[in-house]
């Protein structure tokens, strides 16, 4: 029995090491796209900083990866997660959306912030700086609401 477990453990350990060598695709780009949300709507600095810190890791074409996110299979899990997030909302391509979709997305963004659904608690667990205070929420939703009315 003991030997059996030891063998399984060894095999898993080898697999764990081996998968680290499989090439990874990171969600990173050198250039900021012209269709980027912040480039297009030019929000005040504090709002731009909040959006970048709290949303852009998953909802844009640029993710900042801490070291532990480069370990497999965590990196795979994250890749899936980011792809799903970008399909829902991609700030890097926001200006490419139709006006209709932009308005609809802004509404959803506000409601997610208001209801504390975004940023995800699993994300703020590791990124405490991404959490929104009540003042942050008020400032963000007011600015976004105003933007939506003027689109």
């Amino acid at each position: 029995m003991k030997r059996y477990i030891k063998k399984i453990g060894l095999v898993l350990f080898i697999v764990f090491i081996a998968i680290q060598f499989i090439p990874k695709k990171y969600n990173q780009n050198d250039i900021v796209s012209k269709t980027d949300f912040i480039t297009t709507f030019n929000p005040p600095k504090n709002i731009a900083a909040k959006l970048t810190a709290s949303c852009y890791d998953c909802h844009s074409n640029n993710t900042y990866y801490p070291w532990y996110n480069k370990i497999q299979p965590i990196a795979w899990f994250l890749e899936d997660h980011i792809n799903e997030a970008k399909a829902e909302l991609n700030f890097s391509e926001f200006a490419d959306y139709s006006k209709r979709r932009q308005k609809s997305k802004l509404k959803s963004i506000m409601s997610q912030i208001r209801d504390d659904e975004m940023p995800l608690s699993s994300y703020t667990l590791m990124h405490s700086e991404a959490k929104f205070s009540e003042e942050d929420k008020k400032m963000l939703t007011e600015w976004l609401d105003n933007l939506r009315d003027n689109l």
């Binding site: 030891k6 399984i8 453990g9 799903e84 006006k99 979709r101 509404k107």
Partner: protein, 221 residues
Amino acid sequence: MKGLKLTTRILAILFIAVTVISCKDGKKEQPKEDAQKTEMKGNDHSNMKHEEAGHDNSDGHHDGDKASETRDVSATSQKNAATTPIIDAYIQIKNGLVSDDNVATKKGGTALVAAFSKFDMSKLSGDTHKEYMEIMESAKEHGAHIVKSDIAHQREHFEVLSTDMDDLITLLGTEKTLYQDFCPMANNNKGASWLSEVKEIKNPYFGAKMLKCGSVKKQIN
């Protein structure tokens, strides 16, 4: 030796846990909007000037006026049977919300996505086609979200979906008799409208809580 065994066990548990999580995650993925994007490319597949059944095209709806900016539904709508399955699915969502029924609303969401997928847009051209594509993209997205949301979120999506429906009817018309209702308290007291197949007010934004809140703003057909 004991240490090695422990670490291998921990690694094994970790590995299995993450595999299970990522598998579960993979299943959730739905066919996304790839199909729509490819359809978008064939923008002008007909030079026909919109010859749908019973479609009288004398009111100049196709001359590039941005229907998205006009929120009003014209009282005399073009008679168009093609939009009926879409509107019926929307009504199904509306009635689900009126009766505070999360599951019935989800079914309506599924029906809406299906109705848009089946809609024949080969007869649309130019600006009408472009406008339709934008409405469809938005409405399908709301439909998909309604399928996977709780009732509070369903109502938020329904609010924007209702403006999409207004624009769809302005753009393509309907053969149905509909009422555009308005409730000033919905949407965080900003007010929101909806379309109904019955004249009597039945509020989808509040359900049983405030079933009678609202008034008829317009009758279509």
